[in-house]
């Protein structure tokens, strides 16, 4: 996907592309949930159902595979949009040899470095200085890359976030700290974990330009994201973005207790803001697509996801020799129990 001009971002073809990408991500994530329940995926697995606008929007305003992206463990959508082999993404999530890391990382640790996707991290906050480091590296080399560093509202409290923002401002690093505020850090609501719930303000003490944007509306989001990405690229300075969205699934596939931190009524209200349904309405209002076409697209993408899953499931578990590979670049660790 080439970098689009602003007027192209609302063309019928572009809106259809957004729709396809968002539905594809949702069906992919839902398939992951099913596979998890079947025991085909293990460990901790987190989906981005309800949060599709962020990856799709950025995919059209960044320079995919040139710019750098780094995120936490909710990491399936980005590589899928960057053109990573979807079977390798699903294979990684399933712990198979076809996976991007040949099954050694799993759902939380998906990486496709060649495509500028740096993962895929399980320690909340841990990847944020790494993101600043990617930006430091590209700037040092005189490149004009932008680094997109995604983090959650819960992660926004970790000490390294503030340390990284300070250095990013001090050294003018071309990074977007994109805080996806989905209102929850696992089972803890925003107001119970953040003293000031307007998280975009976290950049202000460091003099970083900061802004809150709607993360449930692809049309407004894409304009905000474009403006911000273009500014960061031109100025080679950091930006803090707070993206307001919501996760419809539990925190992870093992979280079966959503009622402990939110009510059914609240979930129903959030469903009404569903970014996919919102885009469908636009498509209909503008006579770009009718329901039939949408259903046909959905069916096509569901089949596509099914085929991806089948192909990944046909891949064997990693060879036993994998266990010692890649601990070092040039030697093996001491072996045996």
């Amino acid at each position: 996907m080439a970098k689009a001009k602003l007027e192209e971002l609302e063309s019928p073809a572009m809106l259809e592309e957004f729709y396809r990408q968002m539905v594809f991500i949702r069906r992919f994530e839902e398939k992951c949930n099913v596979a998890y329940r079947l025991g085909k995926i293990g460990g901790y697995m987190h989906t981005a159902v309800g949060m599709e606008v962020t990856p799709v929007g950025f995919n059209h305003v960044l320079k995919p595979t040139y710019d750098y992206i780094i995120t936490a463990y909710r990491d399936h959508p980005q590589p899928l949009l960057l053109g990573s082999d979807p079977v390798a993404v699903m294979g990684e999530i399933m712990g198979r040899s076809a996976g991007l890391s040949r099954g050694k990382g799993g759902s939380m640790h998906v990486y496709d470095i060649e495509k500028g996707f740096f993962g895929g991290w399980g320690i909340v906050g841990g990847h944020i200085p790494l993101g600043a480091g990617l930006a430091f590296g590209s700037k040092y080399k005189g490149e004009d890359r932008v680094t997109l560093c995604l983090l959650g509202d819960g992660a926004a409290n970790q000490g390294v976030v503030f340390e990284s923002m300070n250095m990013a401002a001090l050294w003018d690093l071309p990074i977007i700290f994109a805080i996806e505020n989905n209102e929850f850090a696992m089972g803890t609501r925003l107001e119970y974990h953040a003293a000031d719930t307007e998280l975009y303000k976290r950049g202000e003490p460091f003099g970083i330009k900061s802004e809150r944007v709607d993360g449930m509306d692809i049309l407004s989001f894409i304009k905000d994201a474009k403006r911000i990405v273009d500014w960061v690229r031109k100025e080679q300075k950091p930006f803090v973005m707070e993206i307001m969205n919501y996760r419809y699934n539990g925190h992870g596939a093992a979280d079966n207790d959503r009622q402990l931190y939110r009510t059914k009524e609240e979930e129903a209200a959030a469903e009404k803001r569903d970014p996919i349904a919102r885009l469908e309405k636009v498509l209909i209002d503008r006579n770009i697509m009718n329901r039939e076409k949408m259903e046909a697209i959905d069916e096509e993408l569901t089949d596509q996801v099914e085929a991806i899953y089948e192909a990944a499931d046909a891949s064997p578990f990693p060879d036993a020799s994998e266990v010692y590979a890649n601990v070092y670049t040039d030697m093996d660790p001491e072996k045996g129990h």
């Binding site: 050694k104 609501r189 931190y261 129990h337």
Partner: protein, 326 residues
């Protein structure tokens, strides 16, 4: 004494609740422990019962809230910090090792740090490389910290009480694989088990299997399997890494003349090496064979289940280690 059967998890919950009631300065801090009832449900029901002052939900800021617990301990509180998993305590290691462990010494005894840091350590199932660390050996390396790793429900119950009432910082490591095992718990709100006492959980004459935490359960299963092959293994449950009870370990080695030290942590540089070295130094004349270690593979824990299972010592690995001795 009357006893009650309960799981390892419930034994920990029980003593936490009892100590909250016993001492108004005891409080629990951690992520998702209150309203969300705890990730492993150890603090289930406690927020509702004791309120947010005693059961404190924290932001995801391990270094910060552990430091706050340490500071509060210096002025008389007795905080119990729950790490959602022990791997996250790495973020708080500066506070724990560079601060908590040294405060009593650096102040010449003026200040005490009655702190407990507890939570599950080690592998569960496919949690990958960043969530599976066994850190008890790292902590035991630091003077000033006491480190315990109970393997049974009754020990979890008795040793956590000791930890909370101890005036020193204590690392209390659980293991995700132990939470559902059951045991008999004495019905006694003052029951405690002192640190620095290993125990024999299965008597034997041919070889000592020495371990702690979940590996003690693996050793018990290995002892049973070895018995069928006519090998009589003695299972020594270390329980307390620091202080370490070499008396019980040496006595077992004096009886069996062979020792295998089993630990889940990376084999290279792990705590099992300390035990093996001490046996070598203190029981050299008793040994009929070199002490053998059986530890985790020296790799970041992989996600794929088949690779993960390769990494963690199991009954077959312990038996293979025993076979090396003959």
């Amino acid at each position: 004494m009357a006893t009650i059967e309960m799981t390892y998890r419930d034994a920990i919950s029980k003593v936490l609740a009892e100590e909250i009631e016993h001492d108004e300065n005891v409080l629990i801090m951690g992520e998702d422990i209150g309203r969300y009832q705890g990730t492993f449900r150890v603090t289930q029901g406690m927020f509702e019962k004791y309120g947010g002052k005693r059961i404190l939900d924290t932001p995801i800021t391990e270094a910060g809230f552990t430091g706050i617990a340490i500071g509060a301990a210096m002025v008389g509180l007795r905080p119990v910090v729950e790490m959602m998993t022990m791997s996250f305590s790495i973020l708080a290691m500066d506070q724990i090792i560079n601060h908590a462990a040294k405060i009593h010494y650096m102040t010449g005894g003026q200040a005490k740090v009655p702190l407990v840091v507890r939570g599950p350590g080690g592998a569960a199932k496919q949690l990958s490389a960043q969530h599976t660390h066994c850190l008890e050996g790292w902590y035991a390396h630091a003077p000033g910290l006491k480190v315990v790793a109970p393997a049974t429900a009754v020990d979890a119950y008795g040793m956590l009480r000791t930890a909370i009432r101890d005036d020193n910082p204590v690392i209390f490591t659980e293991n995700p694989g132990l939470y559902t095992i059951k045991g008999e718990i004495p019905d006694d709100k003052d029951f405690s088990i002192p640190f620095g006492k290993a125990q024999i959980l299965h008597e034997g004459n041919d070889v000592s299997l020495i371990g702690y935490s979940r590996m003690t359960q693996v050793n018990l299963a290995a002892a049973e399997a070895l018995e069928k092959d006519g090998i009589s293994a003695e299972v020594v449950d270390v329980r307390s890494l620091s202080p370490l009870d070499m008396t019980t370990i040496n006595a077992s080695v004096a009886k069996t003349h062979r020792a295998v030290v089993v630990y889940e942590d990376w084999k290279f540089g792990g705590f099992g090496g300390e035990i093996a070295a001490r046996i070598g130094e203190e029981s050299f004349d008793e040994l009929d064979a070199p002490v053998v270690r059986c530890g985790g593979l020296n790799v970041p824990t992989p996600y794929a289940r088949n690779l993960e299972l390769e990494c963690i010592p199991d009954v077959d690995d312990v038996i293979a280690a025993v076979r090396k001795l003959s």
